[in-house]
Subunit: 256 residues, 2 copies
């Protein structure tokens, strides 16, 4: 039975997709069977692993509105052990279309039951909002991974995110746990980064992963080649940090 993770933070541009893509790729390289679900209509996670989104017949949108099973949307990536449920711009219609539906928060969770025994870990990459697409991911997930960019604006949404997680826990998904907080785009040359890191540790305590992801331009270049950092530049500081983070996560897995 796969463990389902969601990378979530309504603040934009904090590294949700970069984290989902690179954790998924390293875990596949370590021999795990991985499914990456792209629940952002922009489809960055899909293209981040080299999926061509222009010729897809079905995508996550079809699953959410009930036109297809998850199985029918799964495509293999170029990375052995890593499959993808891609998204297309059609997915942006789901938020408004779902509002009147009675089981609007449960669509993804129900769809996942048919594939959970085929994978070890499932990652859901969320859009930058607390909309129904993100709520669907939070209801379907066992654990959340929260990337926090080490810059001031990224601190402001933490309280709201925590409230939303608690709301979901009390109503739709009592088992939901925070797996960890990942500090991203840490620029050691500025005091601000350490100030933000301190605040995040004050708020989340030991839930903050020890591994910090530095700002590293190679991480921003890799997606233009449709490759996770592991294939684009495995020797870069960005790659080493995500590799270390993946090991830290796996340690937690065994320790759990």
């Amino acid at each position: 039975m796969a463990t389902v993770f969601a990378t979530v933070n309504q603040k934009g541009g904090v590294g949700k997709t970069t984290t989902a893509v690179n954790l998924a790729a390293y875990l596949a390289a370590f021999g795990k069977r991985i499914l990456l679900i792209d629940s952002d209509p922009q489809g960055n996670a899909s293209s981040g692993v080299g999926i061509d989104r222009d010729h897809l017949e079905k995508c996550l949108y079809d699953v959410i509105i009930g036109n297809a099973t998850l199985d029918e949307t799964i495509v293999p990536s170029q990375i052995s052990g890593l499959d993808v449920v891609p998204s297309t711009p059609r997915l942006s219609g789901a938020d408004i279309e779902l509002v009147p539906e009675p089981d609007r928060e449960l669509r993804l969770k129900l769809a996942l039951t048919s594939v959970q025994d085929k994978y070890d870990l499932i990652f859901i990459d969320c859009p930058p909002s607390l909309s129904l697409l993100t709520i669907n991911a939070l209801v379907a997930a066992d654990e959340v991974i929260i990337p926090i960019q080490c810059e001031y604006y990224a601190l402001e949404g933490i309280g709201q995110l925590n409230n939303t997680l608690n709301l979901i826990k009390h109503s739709l998904n009592p088992e939901l746990k925070i797996r960890g907080i990942i500090l991203t785009m840490y620029n050691a040359r500025t005091v601000l980064a350490e100030q933000v890191a301190e605040e995040a540790r004050k708020f989340f305590g030991s839930k903050v992963f020890e591994t910090i992801i530095p700002r590293n331009i190679r991480l921003a270049e890799a997606p233009s080649f449709g490759q996770p950092i592991l294939f684009y530049d495995p020797g870069s500081t960005g790659a080493k940090a995500y590799e270390k983070l993946t090991k830290e996560m796996l340690d937690g897995e065994f320790a759990a």
Copy 2:
């Protein structure tokens, strides 16, 4: 009659708030009467100009759901000539609450009529989504300003954003124009930045502002002091770029 601008891009973290805050501040310094409307529940634009969001009685949410007029929510900032309609986390409820309302896209436009003669320019900072809050801003706006981060993922949403703008133009706001595309976080040390800039110019042609905003850590530090860059570090490359951009925009204004 004020010209209404919206900073919009559903891609997260591309510099929407940084652009709205710093354009608004420079325009106020140049003697224009400016209103900055924060339509992102995270409230970054409010805190970016030093507004304390914890003790607000009313905010944009109250206007959107009909509990208050815009006038009642306007607060002065520390910057002379710059007033703010702040947001609070309550605003995140608006997207779902508005869906069943008949005039759900028009709430902000209707509210603006009562204040438009008091300002020269009005800026609406949008959240990273194409939700009803953003649609309200696009219906209320005369022109849109589209920040595009010079990184690969930021290119992927351009088509979808353009489609949404055309939809709004054909139905709810035929006068809506693109004022310009701002290339942000341009890192001259990487080929990627120029590749993205080229793509944006290919897509939007002469609509791309000549002024490019470089990646400059001082722009990320300023919000932690609640100050626009003009007050935090006016000599920085980030400040000079936003000053130049403001002048380029004003030229366009007179040339219009």
